[in-house]
Amino acid sequence: MEYVYAALLLHKQKKEINEANIANVVKASGAEVNEAQVKALVAALADVNIEEAIKAAPVAVAAPAAPSG
């Protein structure tokens, strides 16, 4: 999930979500960067409107109805 956090961080700062930027952010956290994950993330996000995605309010989970019998 760390790469997704990095992408959201960039998004929030209105920075471009590209491989270099994500790698930079993850590296700055002190962790090693997995290039495959970076690549996969950037590719997957290419057609995603992050602003819309995070606006879609998650629906609360309803408690199971009491069994009727």
Binding site: M1, E2, Y3, V4, Y5, A7, L8, A40, L41, A44, L45, V48, I50, A53, I54, A56, P58, G69
Partner: protein, 288 residues
Amino acid sequence: MHQNRTKYPQKKAQMYQQLQELPSKYKVIALVRMEKVRSSQLLPLRKKFKGEVEIVSIKDKVAQKSLSTLKIPGIEKLAANLVGQCVLMFTNMSPIKLNILLGKNKIMMAARGGDKASIDVVIKAGNTGITPGPILTDFKEAGVSTKIDQGTVWITKDSIAAKKGDTISGKLATLLSKLDVKAVEAGIVLNSALEDKVIYNQEELTVDVEQYRAAFAKAHQEALSLSIAIGYVTKENVNMILAKAAQQARSLAIEAGFLTDDTKDATIQRAHGQAKSLSGKLKGYSPQ
């Protein structure tokens, strides 16, 4: 004490004879005590169970006399339960089943003073066809508003004369019977039954059908749960298993932050939701 009758009344003789024959024609003899049953209940049952159950209404002494001559194992125990006016039912179906069917065939009857209302007793608005008189007081006491129009008593609006469970007074019972409103649900319950040498008492004859209904639902549900849990595919559960497997894959992809076409948006929402959930717990810090 009794005067010896020189001649048995013909009706009793017939019944005596009937009881000599019926027990050999049917596997089951069931007894209903008439103290809780009115003869008007029997007619619809006779119709309903025609060909399946023969229903004989009889006095205890005649029945005892006739049954005691029969060589049917266990009959003496059944005869011992005969008290007063009785109903005997002869059938080939299981007495428990008969009892359940009787329970399903309850009918609404006119209440007698002291009965408890089985339902909310509603007196409908409209013309009662009754001529005004002292009855107006009865209506008033029952909380039913009336008016007089063209010589008859009209009820002005639907009124509840008794709530379910209320005891119905003799006066109200009379009023209800005049209005032909039935307030009591009457069912027949078997007191005991003899089947294949075994005598069943009232308790043994009573089955909680709802419990069985629930048991079937639960048993099936358990089978469904088990089959899904182990991935044993059948026609009934194949859709659920596919949904579950796909669901597991989605959950795993999201938890791992591995973006797939199906889960990208949900993953971003999840990450953002986690940030929101976390920031919501922070005191004195509001993210900008």
